[in-house]
Amino acid sequence: MNQEITIALAGNPNSGKTTIFNNMTGARQHVGNYSGVTVERKEGSLKHKDYDIKVIDLPGTYSLTAYSPDEVVARNVIIEEKPDVVVNVVDASNLERNLYLTTQLKELGVPVVVAMNMTDMAEARGMTFDYQLLSQLLGVEIVRTVGTKNMGTRELLDAVIKAASGRSEIPEKQVRYSNELEEEISNVQGLIAGKSTAAIEAAPCVDSLLSETSDYLNRWLALKLIENDKDVLKKIESLRGSEKILEQVEKSQDHLRKIVGEDPELLVVDGRYAFIRGACQEALTYTQEDRISITEKIDKILLNRVLGLPIFLGIMWLLFQLTFTIGSPPMEWIDSGFTVLGEWISNHMTEGLVQSLIVDGIIGGVGGVVIFLPNIILLFMGIAFLEDTGYMSRAAFVMDKIMHRVGLHGKSFIPMLIGFGCTIPAILATRTLENNRDRLVTMLVSPLMSCGARLPVYTLLIAAFFHESVAGNVLFSIYLIGIILALMMAKVLKKWVLPGESEPFVMELPAYRLPTLKSVLIHMWERSWLYLKKAGTIILAASIVLWMLFTFPMVDAQGNKIASPSLQMEQSYAGQVGHAIEPIIAPLGFDWRTGVALVAGFAAKEVVVSTMGTLYSIEDSEALADEEEGSVKSFADQAREQSGYTPLSAYVLMLFILIYVPCMATVGVLKRETNGWKWPAFMVGYTLVLAWVVCFVVYQGGLWLGIGV
């Protein structure tokens, strides 16, 4: 019988934690979400010697305060799930700051094994470590690893097993704070120790935090209270009879403020860094003077005040080309593959409802999901490369000033740029934003960046209603309005929908390094699979629903088969929706036919044109899509005659298409990324309202001024 061990992997961002995780578990990984938050939960498993080891990859954090959901999740996993060992991945070339997390992990009272990673880089920079001494000084097992070369993984696992079975010979060591602080900690700790026993008796499951009576946790809680940790404070406040503890905390804080003239949290941080400095001074020597590193040389060019921006734009151009230009042929193959499959089934099945469901509903729906795969695979290859090399934070550094003006983060730029290609990868690309509010706002405004699928609709409408000489300006104005609306909405959302303290931009610029093929591939595979699995099901379901809306009822009120496709569409549920919303969209210059086309546009924007073609009984829809002159002309004539279209209403229709709900695939992805229906529903709602308002203003204003009528 194998013994089971659970380990949690902790470490700073850029410490090489993910590489160590991949080395340990290989492909045996599972990605999910922590309940209630959008923090990703990664788990993996492996066998080593006689042990089955489960590995929880905690989010990368610099500290364990309540600063971000990531930090709260990381420490809650350790407290609540009680892993047998915490493996702390430490970047040896950046030792002092990395050990700051180590000291906090130690305070939680779990056995910690430190994986001293990137030792090759550190040694190349002239750093020499006395591992044994460092291990004694810090009170942790230390194993030397080089994640990118898969060195030290076995030794690390051996150390984990040793620590889990309590056979570690390292003497216990903790940070000792200043005498004044230690005194106050024990004052508060004493009260908590009395309280927690009583709390368990009163309500056994108040909180797993307090069901634990260990001295470690009591000391940790006391420390957190003194340093004003919001999360811990809230938990203690909810306890009956906690007033005494809180009173003592306030007294202690006042006392500390009085004698040192500083916030108590400074004493805590300072105490930890002093402890680390002491250890490093003894166990770390620099054999050569701190010379200019390769990273510094590269940054002299890449972050140059003159060259920085053009280089950044060039890299963005490459990323865009990679995603959409290289991605376009495979997308066409997939598209024609599904068309051929649909035709084959049409030919081998008797015509009827089942055939229509399979061909138009299911194959159309699955095709609609799979078609984005080349884009997504390529984009994430590019993003993984930018992240793993370390350029991503430089991109944020370059763009932050501009993005910050509208309340966003420098990292919001990339997803918004990707949005010009397709909104789905844009929403997925927001994963690079650590702050949840920044990420949500970026996701919510990225649909306003006009995606590639909307372009054929614009060009057709422009060809039909505008003179060639103004075509370029009309198109440009649509794109520009999209950008302006996105920036405005970002500001509005930041102010009213997701208000709060502005997030600081305190970001590490990690050393450049060459990414490993394995880590890029794993990253790419993970994202693509998640997209297929989670968003795919929603997109498929929605496309079947839309198919039903356009297919039923198949007969008129008398039970007769409807003669023409345009009449069938008018009498279908979608047609009825079009009629029903006519009064609402009439002030925008739209009739029910446009209403039906907009309903169809929910499947994908490019469908708007073919739907209108069907409604106007234009036989050759392919010629229309290819913008053949004759078809465009008869489309324009029919639209004028039947729906009273003018250049103004055509322009307003373009605006509506630009702004309203991008497509159901976007809604599906947003649901998956935000873990619920709240934000997708909000996005659908706000884009519809915004589209209506903008179109109303433009249409009525245009009428009043007599432009384009």
């Binding site: 610099y62 500290s63 305060t65 600063y67 070339s93 950046n94 030792l95 002092e96 700051r97 700051y100 916030d263 949290e265 400074l266 941080v269 300072d270 860094y273 701190d290 990273t295 510094e296 940054d299 972050l303 140059n304 005040r305 003159v306 920085g308 921006l309 934070s393 550094f397 370059v398 932050d400 000033k401 501009i402 910050h404 420098g410 303290e501 600081p504 931009f505 305190v506 970001m507 590490e508 610029l509 990690p510 050393a511």
Partner: protein
């Protein structure tokens, strides 16, 4: 030179942190990243648009906005 903040440092200049003012999570974040009083920092560069700035401390590179750098008072 009292009251000088990190914001006033020119690229290439070195200084020592005297105090971190400001409140709440911003202050805590700055402290957590190792910008504690007494630590030595060097201004590396300004971003192409002049903000944020990049500094070097404890052997690593950190970027922050000028509005945050203002909270870091130098000796």
């Amino acid at each position: 030179m009292s009251g000088r903040s990190l914001k006033d440092l020119e690229p290439g200049q070195k200084a020592r942190v005297a105090k971190v003012s400001g409140i709440g999570s911003i202050k805590r974040r700055i402290l957590d990243m190792g910008l504690v009083p007494g630590s030595e920092i060097e201004m590396e560069r300004y971003a192409p648009f002049g903000d944020p700035v990049e500094i070097k401390l404890k052997g690593y590179h950190l970027s922050l906005r000028k509005e945050e750098a203002e909270n870091i008072i130098l000796e």
